[in-house]
Point group: C2
DNA sequence: GTGAAAGCGCTAACAA
DNA sequence: TTGTTAGCGCTTTCAC
């Protein structure tokens, strides 16, 4: 049984397609009698608008793309869920593109999505550099979340990474730690540079000397990398008494490595993470972490695209680049101050 | 600058749209000279096909829906990533719909996706019952993963839940546990019934009596619910010496509740989870868990839809309902056998 | 208020 | 081998 079209409904209701269309789209001025007839026919046929056709006609697609490394990474899973919810409020469906964080796949994700495919894109780039943005689908509103490739004239939504890192490390200093390490240095990640900067600033503020060998790089930000990096730190002749990890996964790995060596957290070693993934509230010990307002990030990013995409259609506000900072908080848990209470 | 259309390319190349279309779609018989001209024009214009228009014409949408409770739940995040990858191989994009596990949202997800919107749907229903499937978009291939609402003539892909649960609980019995609890009983989840059945079968096989109060229900399958349920079990006058949790999140919560009470895992209490989420390999202690082959689930589900959707178009194999079982393994870690080695 | 008809960009019959 | 053309289902002028 072929699905009902507008025309089928019109025939059944004995009116024109236009009238049916008016009813379907909530146009106010329809003769009550006709409206009734149409509504009946709508139900009788089980009519559902063909969104594709509508969008083709309207010149919009009804989709936005969300380009991120991997959905299996908790932070991105959580973020994606929030983006989908936020997008729904604007009538958008979300196409998710996974890049594994490679520059190549980030490029193709962006270029393959023709301008017809999507009304906009939100991306969390890991490896993309300025030049890659040259041949982007023009006219597609783009917003970057999290990472910030400098020198690229693209809207951006994120927390203040430097301040957040400073806050995290400041907390470690405030509880009396003196030999504070960091895990996550990475020349290819924009945020890594910012978090490292915040880390250094906090050390300086606390009057602590920086020790090069305490800043351990991590190429990937998975649990495994955190465990490896932590192992290296624990092999040092003079062990750190605290470590700031650039994300929660690294911190979870660090926690694991510490446990494997019999190093007590937080007594011997305090650990702070970054992202406040749900997992961090239940690890043992639970993880002190920077909690970005992910909902705000998702909603702001979607709103920006929404604004741009209607702008573009109408009177085109020319070029007011947005760089929006969303709130964050320091969530203090057992990995820095020890057992206090069971998690909620 | 308006995006280039087929017609623009045709004009520039000095041929007809048909020829351009032939080139774009890889049709073999095009005069070499024309092909060259078209290809040049393609590049010059930066042409990108309008997928929406193509699909409208072809009567397909190029999308499949993935309907699941929440992307922030690790199991679903991981599964979604795999589904997206598998779908890509068939040229599909994936629309993700989050239902929060409520029947209402599951219903609307399924019905709102008109048949025009999607070529098929994969769903992981939590609360949907047989009658809800009555008014589904007809003609849209559907496959259920994981949960299995009985009496519904819909393709299904999952592991053998009874056997998996039996294996998990059998393992607990094999390491000498005698008072084995379970967390996750739930009248509204199809899998819960199966896992409970496997739990009971394993107890019987081990010659262990079943104790009603050791089967604790969980309405949600989040970490918090696992912690609450575990607390209840630890309040019992006669505590269990092992617990089988119906998913990893419950197990993580149980781990946390045990730690809060000073109950040692696995010495005092062995814990087994279900799903083998990445988190379970890094918890402290790491979690013994049932590891379903998620990749197989994702790929099988997508293949089924693919088969159905081409079937439907062509000679319609009438009705051979598929109920496919994918492999699983028992991943034995510290939460049942104690410290052995650091995770890889 | 409503109908007729054009056309969004594409594919595919049919002709040439 | 290629051009012409009719729609896919919808929205939207423009008449009436």
């Amino acid at each position: 049984m072929r699905a009902a079209t507008l025309k089928d409904v019109a025939v059944l209701a004995g009116v024109s397609v236009k009238t049916v269309s008016n009813v379907v789209n909530g146009y106010a001025f329809v003769k009550p009698e006709n409206r009734r007839k149409v509504e009946e026919a709508l139900i009788a046929t089980g009519y559902r608008p063909n969104i594709g056709a509508r969008n083709l006609r309207r010149g919009k697609t009804g989709f936005i793309a969300l380009v991120l490394p991997e959905l299996s990474i908790p932070y991105f899973g959580e973020l994606a869920g929030l983006v989908i919810t936020a997008a729904q409020a604007h009538g958008w469906n979300v196409l998710i593109e996974q890049t594994q964080g490679t520059r190549d796949r980030e490029r193709t994700a962006l270029t393959s999505m023709g301008p017809h495919m999507i009304d906009g894109a939100i991306l969390s780039p890991q490896a993309l550099s300025a030049e890659d943005f040259a041949d982007l689908a023009p006219g597609v509103p783009l917003v970057m979340v999290g990472e910030h490739a400098v020198d690229v004239p693209i809207d951006h939504v994120a927390i203040d990474n430097v301040l957040a890192a400073r806050t995290a490390v400041g907390h470690l200093a405030a509880i009396g730690r003196r030999r504070i390490a960091s895990i996550g240095r990475n020349p290819h990640r924009g945020t890594a540079a910012l978090r490292l900067e915040g880390y250094r600033a906090a050390l300086a503020e606390a009057g602590l000397a920086e020790d090069e060998e305490l800043s351990v790089p991590a190429l990937e930000y998975h649990r495994r990398d955190g465990a490896q990096a932590m192992s290296r730190l624990l092999d040092l002749p003079e062990r750190p008494d605290a470590v700031f990890c650039f994300n929660d996964l690294l911190a979870i790995g660090a926690l694991r490595a510490a446990a494997d060596r019999g190093v007590r957290v937080p007594e011997d070693l305090a650990i702070v993470g970054f992202d406040n993934t749900e997992e961090s509230a239940y690890s043992i010990p639970s993880l002190t972490t920077i909690a970005p307002d992910k909902k705000a990030i998702a909603e702001t990013a979607v709103s920006l695209i929404h604004g741009r995409s209607t702008d573009a259609a109408e009177n085109a506000t020319p070029f007011d680049l947005q760089d929006i900072q969303t709130p964050f908080a320091l969530e203090i848990r057992e990995s820095t101050i020890g057992r206090t209470r069971a998690p909620a």
